[in-house]
Amino acid sequence: MDRRVAIKNLALVLGGATLFPKDILAGGKNLIQLNNLSISPAQEKLLAEVAETIIPKTTTPGAKDMGLHLFALLMLNDCYGKQDQQQFTEGLKQFAAIVAKQSAKPFALWPQAQREALLLSIEQKNDLPAELNRFYRITKDKTVQGYTQSKYFMTKKVVYELVPSRYNVNVPVKTKNTAVKHG
């Protein structure tokens, strides 16, 4: 995906959030301005890789294409309380430290399998620091929400109908898969 398309997609995801296309090209600044927490450009990039690990690009768009880490930050900034925001930033630092300890290579260059293994180990362990757990939970929840409530997902995967024009009952079930989302 070229940069222009990527920026357009980001705008779609973020709606009203402030974006600086110039800075995107420069690569050295944050893509999203937050007033309730402080995230460095490097942390933002790391978060982008975490989100991409959760929802990777396959034959269909992934987290980076859709700017899901920026959606997660927007939600964290606007809808979460101070304690969550502090735990998240602290947990993000702890996560970066674990990454650095495991490999000299930046997280972005790890093979997908290795990145997934690290995230899974956090998801499945319950003896980790509370901040790390909270960071992971918020990142995953908001990445998944950003994905399942994206235009792409709601028009191509589980279709949202704005105007269903019907309410049918006693509809026989043919397959367990639900093709259409009602809600």
Partner: protein, 572 residues
């Protein structure tokens, strides 16, 4: 003060004034203008034009910045309105924010308000059930409040009248305690709701589960097309305002209808400070309005005045309308004005899982929300240790399940293929409360709002009857679920829910036979000021347990008919 020359007075003189443009004010406007009266409709908030002013109505979920969640800063700044189930990004612009219009809570009371043309008719839950004589005879039989000055037969034709125009979907169920109406086809019960309905019918001789009756155009009639409304499209995004006019609101229905008559002048941004009483004439001559843009005080005059400002605001206006004749508020010789405020108990839920029926699902969305269990307690006679009873909402749905564990393409695939899970069923309580003198509103002596209106003090609380009734609801509905074979039954008393959040506050200017114990007579007419009528929630003598809006509409149409016939006879 505006220029008081004769032309100016003429310009500010109408046949009728309606205070408020919500569900009852809209009806007053439609009926008065329909009978040829030049009518001024005053609205304290801004104008909301049908379709034009529904900014979110066609937005997709991903177009909301926070996916419809309210930001924390807004929730912290507005704790009261944030507790309302419909206060989200898609409809927040139709709700009053806490700080904009402060009031004093002597006891916790969540006052949910919609200050705009259409009022809360844009936001209501659209459930419409008639009341019956089991409700209108309630206070007299059970010895509380005062006797209603009317019976079902008085209001029945007016229910029919408003139902035909508003468009009410439902089935003729033949239940005495919930009289049938003029119905468009009802929305169906789904597989599990129908099973439960059959089970209840078999197991209990006086209990019913019916399709909820609601103000949606399931199959519009010519009168609805004439209003510019078409069939409900099952969006169930009603709180945003409906581009189809699929549900009844003042905005989609009565206000444009009144406008079309050429007899209505609609004046938004007009806070009514008081009703002007003329001692020599012995009646009201008009209203005093504060223009909220200019802060100018303007007087408007009319032969009759309908007060439809929403229950507590109507109380506030009447209490603030003082004169030598009425030092304690217009029509308040009795001292009952502001007292006997009551509400509905939305204080408990019962939820459960359902085994089986997995061969069926539903498609689309149900605007009626599911089923309705009419009141079955203390109907024919007193049979419990609490007075009155409750209705219940009943809804079943087929759950979906997504495995959201793990990360990567496995997770991505799982999210994209949700699977049908089991059925779930839920019920919520809607209970009647007993109006009491100790549940009141009054004006604060010192504190005023930005327009110089005294702040309202609200003192409304639950009582033992409410608690006993809530427990009975939990027992009875969970037993009905149990005998129906539902599993994992969860009874819950809704935590920290203050009165008010039901958004069914009623009373304060109640109807009654006797001017010594009530404010209004059987025509919703102020006993001691014959050209002022109150036909919104303030007029209610008792609350029944049905949703009240349909009854406000019927009272309004009936009262306008009476007022205009009295004018023609020269009595007003």
């Amino acid at each position: 003060m505006a220029n008081l020359n004769i032309d100016s007075v003429k310009e500010r003189t109408f046949d009728a004034i309606v205070i408020g443009s919500g569900i009852s004010g809209g009806w007053a406007a439609k009926e008065l203008t329909g009978k040829g009266l030049k009518t001024l409709v005053l609205e304290r908030g801004r104008d909301v034009k049908h379709n034009v002013d529904y900014p979110t109505t066609n937005m997709y979920p991903w177009e909301f910045k926070h996916r419809n969640e309210m930001p924390l800063a807004v929730r912290e700044e507005n704790p009261i309105v944030s507790r309302c189930y419909a206060f989200h990004e898609d409809a927040a612009h139709f709700f009053v924010k806490d700080k904009e219009h402060p009031y004093i809570q002597e006891k916790p009371f969540d006052w949910i308000r919609g200050y705009q043309v259409g009022g809360k008719s844009l936001l209501w839950a659209r459930q419409t059930q008639r009341w019956s004589d089991f409700d209108f005879e309630g206070p007299a039989r059970d010895g509380f409040a005062v006797d209603w000055p009317i019976r079902y037969a008085d209001i029945a034709p007016w229910y029919s009248y408003v139902e035909k125009f508003a468009g009410i979907s439902g089935n003729k169920d033949g239940i005495a305690e919930l009289p049938d109406g003029e119905f468009l086809p009802g929305f169906p019960l789904n597989t599990v709701e129908k099973y439960f309905s059959d089970h209840v019918k078999k197991t209990y001789n006086n209990r019913h589960v019916i399709s909820a009756r609601c103000a949606h155009l399931s199959k519009p009639e010519p009168i609805h097309f004439e209003q510019g409304r078409v069939q409900c499209q099952n969006r169930v995004l009603c709180q945003r305002g409906c581009p189809f006019g699929g549900y009844f609101s003042s905005n989609a229905s009565t206000i444009p209808w009144a406008m079309k008559s050429g007899n209505m002048t609609l004046r938004p941004f007009s806070v009514v400070q008081s009703i002007i009483y003329d001692e020599s004439k012995g009646k009201a001559t008009g209203v005093r309005v504060i223009d909220t843009n200019t802060n100018e005080v303007i007087e408007y005059y009319a032969r009759i005045i309908f007060v439809n400002a929403a229950a507590l605001n109507t109380n506030m206006i009447l209490l603030n309308s003082t004169s030598n004749r009425f030092p304690n508020g217009l029509g308040n010789d009795s001292g009952v004005l502001g007292k006997y405020v009551a509400f509905h108990l939305y204080t408990a839920t019962v939820n459960a899982d359902v085994d089986g029926f997995t061969e069926f699902k539903t498609e689309g969305r149900n605007p009626a929300g599911g089923g309705y269990i009419p009141r079955f307690r203390n109907v024919q006679k007193q049979e419990t240790d609490f007075l009155r009873g409750y209705a219940a909402g009943l809804g079943a749905y087929r759950s979906t399940h997504t495995d959201s564990s793990g990360v990567g393409s496995k997770l991505k695939n799982a999210l994209g293929s949700p699977e049908l899970g089991g059925w779930k069923v839920g019920s919520h309580m809607m209970g009647e409360t007993i109006p009491k003198e100790s549940n009141y509103v009054k004006l604060d002596k010192d504190q005023k709002d930005q327009w110089g209106m005294p702040l309202l003090r609200i003192s409304v609380d639950y009582d033992d009857n409410d608690r006993k009734m809530t427990n009975d609801y939990l027992e009875q509905v969970s037993e009905m679920f149990e005998t129906a074979g539902f599993k994992n039954i969860r009874k819950e008393i809704t935590k920290g829910k203050a009165p008010g959040l039901d958004i069914h506050e009623m009373g304060g200017a109640r109807m009654g036979h006797d001017p010594k114990t009530s404010v209004l007579n059987k025509w919703n007419q102020v006993h001691t000021c014959s050209n002022v009528f109150v036909t919104d929630g303030a007029s209610m003598t008792s609350t029944a347990c049905q949703n009240p809006s349909l009854t406000y509409m019927a009272f309004t149409a009936r009262s306008v008919d009476y007022a205009v016939s009295e004018m023609k006879k020269g009595n007003l």
